[in-house]
């Protein structure tokens, strides 16, 4: 797919590349090319978030999780060659697949943040899952489209986290200078 893109890659190409027979590919992916392509997108997606998870795993505070996660995810996204190629050449094939995945991602990011939010505590009247859902969808939005923010600059990411992400979920008195 990195070579030919998503639409032009055939089951034969994948079989040849893997040194397997066409029949073997069909045994694992009875749905053929479409199923194989969907599996690749899902797999790449999970790998991406797996690496993100490893990157932020050792963080000791919610603030650090958010900062490290945003910096790392944006860098990974820009360096992901297959994704970048498809965004340029086949957005109409890729985007519907990514949109399906993004529902799942909001759930994944949100689930990851819940323990941090529990530990930190959220303001009265706010549910932990509500705070987690807000953070997850905003994070995904910044990673995909930074808009006015430069996510390669750690200082700017720190400001973004402190101004747009944390105040609502931890209560404003909780954000102290480090």
């Amino acid at each position: 797919m990195a070579r030919w893109g998503l639409s032009k890659t055939t089951v034969e190409d994948a079989a040849r590349e893997a040194g397997l027979s066409r029949a073997t590919v069909y045994r694992y992916f009875p749905g053929g090319r479409d199923e194989l392509v969907d599996a690749v997108v899902s797999w790449q997606y999970l790998q991406f978030f797996g690496r993100l998870y490893e990157e932020v795993h050792g963080a000791t505070s919610l603030e650090e999780v958010l900062e490290r996660g945003l910096l790392f995810a944006r860098r990974q996204l820009l360096e992901h060659e297959v994704l970048q190629k498809m965004v340029q050449t086949e957005p109409e094939v890729l985007m519907p697949k990514l949109t399906v995945e993004s529902n799942r991602t909001i759930g994944l990011i949100s689930g990851f943040l819940v323990p941090y939010l529990h530990e930190h505590g959220v303001p009265d009247g706010l549910e932990v899952h509500e705070a987690a859902d807000f953070l997850a969808r905003m994070i995904l939005s910044y990673i995909a489209s930074p808009g006015r923010w430069d996510l390669s600059d750690p200082e700017e990411v720190r400001r973004l986290v402190r101004v747009e992400l944390l105040p609502g979920v931890v209560g404003k008195a909780q954000i102290v200078d480090r």
Binding site: L78, M95, L126, D133, F134, S145, G147, R148, P167, G168
Partner: protein, 252 residues
């Protein structure tokens, strides 16, 4: 994976001003708008792919030759005209509602709910999203979404500028645009962006607490009294901005 360095998506367009300038501001002649409206009717019934210039001519009760005269480029030009017309209407409607709001919270709540209503109730857009998602979705992610964020925040910032500094207004406007796109493309349980009370809670909980003394140096949201005069170009679209209306108790 190939080893060649590929062009980064981010390099395409990132300057918000350039992004805004890149939005087509097509000729809004009555005939163009009439044909765009006819095209919207066709798209609502059969989507973009199946809509032909003949269908549009029939719906507009004009000849095929007329359609080609107005849109020499054919269908692509017609679809651009549809987008221009609908986007202009969308922002005009937002301007009307946001211009009438009386404080920062109201501007945000009104802007978000009105945007969500207009988008979810747009029948042609719904048809395309349900049946031809590949036409719309590429415009809602990555650098294309950056353009949408730039356009929406440039447009809505003047309304927030009655209560916030310029930079803050831009930032908060972009925040609101992210909320709208995120919730409409991936709805959360129990969050209906057309519900005033629900959106008010969202704005109050997550947006307004940015006013923290501890983040002062990093640019919190500080509400201030509305300014009494403003000459922003976009804001003139709102027929009765609150600052020029009679205050309560000053009835003539």
């Amino acid at each position: 994976m190939g080893s060649a360095r590929l062009k980064l998506v981010r390099d395409e367009t990132h300057d918000p001003a350039a992004a805004f300038a890149s939005v087509p501001h097509g000729d809004p002649s009555p005939q163009r708008v009439r044909l765009a409206d006819a095209a919207v009717q066709c798209i609502t019934r059969q989507g973009i792919a199946k809509t032909t210039l003949d269908d549009v001519a029939r719906a507009a009760r004009c000849s095929r030759a007329t359609v080609y005269r107005v849109f020499p480029g054919g269908k692509d030009g017609l679809i651009s005209a549809v987008v221009d017309t609908e986007v202009a209407r969308f922002f005009s409607a937002l301007a009307l509602r946001m211009g009438a709001a009386s404080d920062l919270e109201d501007v945000l709540v009104t802007g978000i709910t009105e945007a969500a209503r207009r988008i979810t109730e747009h029948r042609a857009l719904s048809f395309v999203l349900d049946n031809e998602p590949e036409v719309i979705l590429p415009h809602l992610t990555f650098s294309h979404m950056d353009t949408i964020l730039a356009v929406s925040s440039t447009f809505t910032a003047p309304f927030l500028g009655r209560f916030l500094d310029h930079d803050e207004a831009q930032r908060v406007a972009e925040w609101a645009a992210r909320i709208v796109v995120s919730h409409l493309s991936c709805p959360a349980d129990g969050v209906d962006l057309t519900d005033d009370a629900r959106v008010r809670r969202l704005v109050r909980t997550f947006m307004l607490p940015g006013d923290s003394p501890d983040t002062r140096d990093t640019g919190p949201i500080r509400g201030r009294a509305p300014v009494t005069t403003h000459s922003g170009g976009v804001e003139r679209m709102a027929p009765s901005p609150p600052s020029t209306r009679t205050r309560k108790g000053e009835a003539s």
